[in-house]
């Protein structure tokens, strides 16, 4: 029983409740999910008046081989819940959980075995669907692009959700797709964007981390030269990245902070969802469209709202995988 421990630690004395997380190589300021997670943890800490690096803290990994040592060292420091951020950490979380049955762990973006592990996943496809709608509606050329980091199950969710959204909003639109096979090669991102825009695309959605920076660069260049091109950011509100040329149409935000906060809270209240899969979708505000919406037209926002309802209501089922997408496409016609 992990849940019993949960009660005992959660029961009364909240004071000595401690939460921590292990980042992947990005670090807690990667302007992406690591940072978002840390923001969630920080908020939780503040709200429960915990002391940083005593009540709540993070450890950064410099290589994959650091995950396990980091997870372990936090557990040895008796943290009540330890978060592993990013699917890359999945296996290590699983092993550590097996070795330390009394520890409570959580893994983000991944589902692993072990009833002392909470599996936090997001419906990136749902969020991507919404920004897809915006892209579909606001593309003048009826051509939009998707730049992926490394081709993977996770990034495929972004791609397919986005494509579905675009086609839903604009059946005659074409979606160009390319993976850089690299999350850190800005020049690749730039050249892919260059190619897309050259071919007439005017909105590009990137799910490519540092490679995405190149997409912004290309868009800014073209905006400067009077072209009317847009980028859709990912994970956080990437409005700032688009300035001053203001090329960020909108962003698909993934509220890792939200998730981390909630799971921490549940754990503190003895409701640690060990062995469960906690899916954060539109319903849970786990994903969605960024707050900055100055560039999003009224009617786009409107349909975003409509579909949000439909999806939450389950009337629209957004595709995750290529197969599901093909299915979805048939039904469109």
């Amino acid at each position: 029983g992990s849940s019993d421990d949960g009660k005992s630690s959660g029961g009364g004395e909240k004071k000595d409740f401690k939460v921590a997380m292990v980042t992947d190589t990005g670090g807690v300021d990667d302007k992406s999910f690591n940072q978002s997670a840390w923001e969630g943890l920080t908020k939780f800490g503040k709200d429960n008046s915990l002391e940083e690096s005593k009540g709540y803290k993070y450890l950064q990994s410099t290589a994959q081989s650091d995950y396990k040592p980091n997870l372990n060292s936090l557990i040895r420091q008796k943290y009540d819940v330890v978060f592993g951020i990013g699917f890359l950490m999945g296996t290590d979380v699983e092993t550590v959980a097996k070795q330390q049955p009394d520890a409570k762990l959580a893994i983000v973006d991944m589902v692993v075995k072990g009833d002392n592990v909470a599996n936090i996943t997001f419906s990136e496809h749902e969020g991507s669907f919404l920004v897809g709608l915006v892209a579909g509606m606001q593309s003048k050329s009826n051509k939009v692009g998707f730049v992926g980091g490394v081709n993977s199950e996770l990034i495929k969710k972004f791609e397919n959700g986005f494509k579905a959204g675009v086609l839903t909003a604009n059946p005659k639109a074409e979606v160009l797709v390319q993976y850089a096979e690299d999350f850190n090669k800005a020049e690749k991102g730039q050249q892919i964007a260059n190619t897309f825009y050259q071919q007439g695309a005017d909105v590009i959605y990137h799910a490519a981390g540092g490679t995405g920076m190149g997409v912004f660069t290309e868009a800014k260049n073209r905006k400067k030269n009077g072209e009317d091109v847009w980028v859709i950011g990912v994970d956080r509100d990437q409005h700032e990245e688009g300035m001053p040329e203001n090329v960020t149409l909108t962003s698909m935000v993934k509220r890792v902070d939200q998730a981390v906060y909630e799971v921490s809270e549940q754990a503190m209240n003895g409701k640690f969802p060990g062995g469960k899969i906690v899916e954060f979708g539109l319903k849970e505000d786990g994903v969605g469209i960024a707050p900055t919406q100055e560039n999003v037209e009224e009617k786009s926002l409107q349909s975003v709202e409509d579909f949000k309802k439909k999806i939450i209501a389950g009337e629209v089922k957004v595709p995750k995988t290529d197969a599901e997408f093909e299915e979805f496409k048939k039904n469109l016609k």
Binding site: A186, Q190, F216
Partner: protein, 320 residues
């Protein structure tokens, strides 16, 4: 897409991504022509990128506006040279193994740059800069039919600067007394010594110049491509520059050509995914194409490259 469109897509892209490599490779030429191996290019470039990002950011704060990037280039060159001076002292004055010292430079640059970034911005990367070098058409030249579209349209000023600098380096190395002496020191330091040339001084100059140019390369990368500096902004470009220098047979124009070749191959592999015909090739082949092409080119046309004779050997009076 018409063939013309494809070229118009690939060639400017090639020139763009080549620029940082060109600068850095030219730096390598200076250092190694003077007889000092410089594996440290990666680190020097990385620290240049860091310096560039920081300088531009604060430049913007101080209202330098459009000048910020250009200021950052100067700063990056100075800092790069200073950083390289560590390599110089170690490998020239202290007779350290030049490869070892170069490797140390790489570790030091990586560690220090991120460490400082965290200190200054307490974030893993510098803020995104808004003042950048941006693409533009070169007036008049871009109007020349065909050539204009391919070589003078929507490319960075820094790219042309790179080509220009390559020409200057060539002139300096092959037309001026300084160049003659620098090369002599890399070929046969003792001979140079007997001719009254200060071997150590020449080598210092060579290494510092390499630092300056590599620093510039890094700053240009930030100002024109990445827009900020993170732990993963410079990952391997320095080594590619090293390869370009050797590919170019330690000759400035050779290095220029090699860097452009890399750029072109890279551009083909990336745009290839969209080019009719190439589209259907499995992606992985496009991905590895640039590197395979390079190897083929080397094996096929280029072949043996003769390093400067005294490359890698510290100079001590009266030792053979």
């Amino acid at each position: 897409m018409s063939f013309m469109d494809i070229l118009a897509l690939i060639i400017p892209a090639a020139i763009v991504s080549a620029a940082p490599l060109i600068f850095t490779a030219l730096g390598g030429v200076f250092s190694e022509r003077s007889g000092v191996v410089n594996i440290g290019l990666e680190g020097l470039m990385l620290f240049g990128a860091f310096t560039g990002a920081v300088t531009i950011y604060y430049g913007e704060q101080f209202g330098l506006d459009g000048a910020a990037p250009w200021v950052s280039f100067v700063v990056a060159m100075i800092v790069g040279a200073l950083f390289a001076s560590i390599h110089a002292v170690a490998s020239i004055s202290l007779k350290a193994d030049q490869v070892v010292s170069g490797v140390a430079i790489n570790f030091l640059a990586a560690g220090l740059a991120i460490f400082l970034t965290k200190k200054i911005f307490n974030a893993g990367q510098t803020p995104v800069i808004s003042e950048r070098i941006s693409k533009s058409d070169i007036p008049f030249l871009s109007d020349i039919p065909i050539i204009g579209k391919l070589f003078f349209s929507n490319a960075y000023l820094t790219s042309y600067l790179a080509v220009f600098v390559a020409l200057i380096v060539w002139y300096v190395l092959y037309k001026t007394p300084f160049g003659l002496r620098l090369r002599s020191v890399g070929e046969h330091p003792m001979a140079a010594d007997t001719m009254g040339i200060n071997v150590k001084k020449m080598r210092y100059v060579g290494v510092l110049l390499s630092g300056a140019l590599a620093g510039l390369g890094g700053a240009v990368y930030v100002a024109s491509i990445s827009g900020n500096f993170t732990h993963s902004t410079i990952t391997g470009q320095g080594f590619m520059a090293l390869a370009a220098m050797i590919f170019g047979k330690w000759h400035p124009l050779g290095a220029l050509g090699a860097a452009l070749f890399f750029g072109l191959a890279q551009a083909i592999s990336i745009s290839g995914a969209q080019i009719p015909g190439l589209q259907d090739i499995p992606k992985v082949f496009l991905l590895i194409a640039p590197y395979v092409l390079t190897i083929l080119a080397l094996a096929g046309l280029v072949g043996r490259a003769d390093a400067p004779k005294a490359l890698g050997t510290p100079y001590e009076k009266g030792k053979r």
